[in-house]
């Protein structure tokens, strides 16, 4: 167990730059994905509003 801890410590010490960089990349990627999904959600709302408006106006026309 101690040996494993020591080995992990050595690996971490030797690779902290790489690991930090990968962590930053992961964060940036997650941010981009969040931006994409939220943008898509906004657009979906716009689409649904347009569809609902059209359906309402069609229904009103039918009633008249």
């Amino acid at each position: 167990m101690g040996l494993a801890g020591l080995a992990s410590g050595v690996i971490l010490a030797q690779n902290w730059r790489y690991l930090t960089k990968e962590g930053i990349k992961l964060g940036v990627r997650a941010g981009v994905k969040v931006r994409e999904v939220s943008q898509q959600a906004m657009e979906d709302l716009g689409d649904l509003t347009a569809e609902a408006t059209q359906e309402l106006s069609e229904q009103e026309r039918e009633v008249k």
Binding site: V32, R35, Q40, E43, D47, L48, A50, E51, E55
Partner: protein, 698 residues
């Protein structure tokens, strides 16, 4: 999903309809995702089309919103997006026209394996498998060192004090690793094979789909044999490369990293000597790479010629036999095969020379390293154990490099195939579908040609300034000597080729503005050499109309005078017709083809075109079909091309073509009265069996 919300399935081109209301459509367009430049270009391109009011292509969401004037007739947003993307892709290709073989290969591999995650499983298996191999090598060195009195301090620290226990431990670890290697080897090979087969499948699907959408000029330029070779042989080369290269690269990478690091730690001087040969290896790759590309290209051309020749031979086998030319054909094919073998050998020999040189360089490196290592060991600058480590590890590196040489051969072949595949995948048909999907009302079938001129080779005109009109429900007969341009007229109407000048209208719309699917769906044609597909009679009749009922199929066969055919053939409707319908006679093939065309007519086609469709039928059968047609094609426009004038005698109007120009026009009676070419032909066919009359055919 809410009512009214439209979500279409995504297709291979990566566009999908997400929402559609009147004058407003939102599309998912994968090509613009995270590509602001492409999104901007798409916006500009779409705004060029009349009726499009506003476009918002968002690279963040990968979607495009198109607002258009809803009253615009025939505006089809999907076609506009596809067309614009195709244009953009063409422009990008033009920019990248200086791409090398290598970049073609990486493009083709990216295309065949669009998702990187599929590489994870085989990659991990390779890492595990080859890591085990590397550790085994280190265990072997460890056992030797322990036996010769040295030993790992690490093992001592684990409590393995005696030499025997350390050797036992390392042997046990080695045996365990051998077991792991055996277990993973098969899975690793299978994983890479599966990945390669998936890549081949994706590539073939993309290629076949690209070939299907090409225009006829493409098929005129590329022979069938060449295209078959591309789909079978060249995609298989890419598959072989993917299957071998990934695994080899992982192996070599691990060996170089592990052994190279050990070498550098043991003695930097030794590591430098090992690297001395590297520039020579790189130089040989550069020198021979170019040569190999040329040779592989020549081999590919020879292979294409051979496939083409074989395809010609097999499709014309009846003529080969009737002219007793079997021996000549065997000789020709044998010569082509020898040529193919020679060029393939020449290509392989370049790769082989490169491989031999690389082997020589690496071996030289080994001996230099061994000699210098021995010198350092005798001087006491490195221990004998370290010297043995270097000497023992080096063959592993050499072996990996030898394997890489085989991959080099595969790479050259795959790079050449990739270039040829890229050429076809990048080619864009000159005949593009128009934006008009449908127009008010159903297709009436009114055709007009206005000053149409055309030549397959623009310098040799086949049709000169042709103008004609076909009204709804009218039957138009076209006659003329061979080569007068009769069949070409139909090819132009189907937009197999575009006119050089003039225009063709269907129901008043220039056919270049119509969607190809709509245009060709409006025409039902039986060509001169009716082609039947391998399969049953039923499959051939319902070809393109798969939802037709049994009653409709039987009705079409009855109208085509082909009902007796299914009554006599064992299996009836499900009787196999053989390859190209070769189990049927010429007349039987024609009748099945007519039934197929009639079924399309029943399904809504507005025009029936028969190009020498009854030439192989006897007069009685032909008369029966004509009677049926009057009923079946009631209200439809009909074009009949025939040499046998009795076939078109009852047409509402007859055109006589000579050398690509209309020289006579009228009904049968008026043309006979005119005493021109038509009258001469009629007389020759009906009244002058001895051929005393001189017919003006030049």
């Amino acid at each position: 999903m809410l009512p009214g919300r439209v979500v279409s399935p995504e297709d291979s081109s990566g566009i999908r309809l997400l929402s559609a209301t009147r004058g407003r459509e939102r599309w998912e367009v994968k090509a613009i995702g995270r590509k602001p430049n492409v999104a901007r270009e798409l916006e500009k391109a779409l705004l060029q089309y009349p009726g499009v009011l506003q476009v918002n292509a968002n690279p963040v969401s990968g979607r495009a919103l198109v607002l258009y004037a809803p009253q615009t007739v025939g505006l089809h947003v999907e076609s506009l997006i596809r067309e614009s993307l195709a244009d953009l892709s063409k422009r990008n290709l033009a920019r990248n026209s200086n791409s090398t073989n290598g970049s073609s290969l990486s493009r083709i591999i990216n295309l065949s394996l669009p998702e990187r995650k599929v590489l994870v499983a085989p990659g991990l298996l390779s890492i595990v498998g080859h890591a085990v191999g590397v550790i085994l090598g280190l265990c072997f060195v460890g056992i030797f060192n322990t036996a010769s009195g040295k030993g790992s301090g690490f093992l001592r620290a684990l409590g393995l004090v005696s030499k025997g226990s350390r050797i036992f431990f390392m042997t046990s670890v080695s045996l365990l690793l051998i077991g792991v290697e055996l277990l993973t080897r098969n899975r690793r090979k299978k994983a890479w094979r599966r990945l390669a087969l998936d890549a081949q499948h994706n590539l073939r699907t993309e290629l076949v789909s690209k070939i299907q959408e090409q225009d006829m000029a493409f098929f005129d330029n590329h022979g069938a044999g060449n295209l078959i070779k591309l789909v079978t042989e060249d995609t298989a080369r890419i598959k072989d490369f993917v299957e071998r290269a990934g695994d080899e690269i992982v192996e070599l990478g691990m060996i170089i990293i592990v052994y190279g690091s050990l070498l550098a730690i043991t003695s930097p001087g030794l590591a430098l000597i090992t690297l001395l040969t590297l520039p020579f290896i790189l130089l040989s790759a550069r020198l021979f790479g170019k040569k190999a590309a040329e040779r592989y290209s020549a081999a590919a051309a020879a292979s294409s010629d051979f496939t083409q020749m074989l395809e010609n031979n097999l499709t014309g086998i009846a003529d080969v036999k009737s002219f007793t030319a079997e021996q000549r054909e065997v000789r020709r094919l044998s010569e082509a095969d020898v040529q193919l073998a020679d060029t393939a050998l020449a290509a392989v020999s370049v790769s082989a020379i490169q491989a031999q040189l690389n082997f020589a360089f690496t071996n030289t490196g080994f001996f230099l390293t061994a000699a210098y290592g021995g010198y350092l060991a005798t001087k006491g600058k490195i221990t004998k154990g370290q010297y043995f480590l270097v000497a023992a590890l080096f063959p592993g590196l050499v072996s990996a490099l030898k394997d890489l040489d085989q991959v080099t051969g595969l790479y050259h072949g795959a790079a050449n195939s990739a270039e040829q595949l890229a050429e076809v995948l990048d080619s864009r048909p000159a005949i593009q579908s128009g934006p008009l999907l449908s127009f008010a009302g159903s297709t009436r079938g009114e055709v007009a040609l206005e000053g149409v001129s055309f030549g397959y080779d623009p310098s040799v005109q086949v049709l000169n300034n042709i103008s004609l009109e076909l009204k709804q429900g009218e039957t138009l007969g076209i006659v003329g000597p061979t080569g007068s341009g009769k069949s070409t007229l139909l090819k132009l109407l189907l937009r197999f080729y575009d006119v050089n000048s003039g225009r063709i209208l269907l129901d008043g719309h220039d056919i270049r503005q119509l969607s190809l699917r709509h245009l060709r769906g409006a025409l039902s044609i039986v060509s001169q050499d009716a082609h039947l597909f391998q399969g049953t009679i039923r499959e051939n009749v319902v070809y393109g109309q798969e939802h037709a009922s049994e009653e409709q199929v039987l009705e079409a066969l009855r109208d085509a005078e082909a009902l007796s055919l299914i009554e006599t053939l064992p299996g009836g409707l499900d009787a196999e017709v053989g390859e190209r319908g070769n189990r049927l006679s010429g007349g039987e093939r024609q009748r099945v083809a007519i039934a197929r065309a009639l079924l399309k007519l029943f399904s809504g086609a507005a025009i029936l075109a028969l190009d020498e469709a009854t030439s192989q039928l006897d007069n009685e059968t032909e008369a029966g079909i004509k009677r049926s047609l009057r009923k079946a094609a009631l209200g439809k426009s009909i074009i009949i091309i025939a040499h046998r004038l009795s076939t078109i005698r009852s047409a509402d109007r007859i055109l006589v073509l000579e050398r690509g120009s209309i020289i006579e026009e009228g009904t049968h009676e008026t043309l006979l009265a005119g005493k021109g070419l038509y009258a001469s032909l009629w007389q020759l066919q009906n009244e002058d069996p001895l051929g005393k009359l001189e017919v003006r055919i030049s």
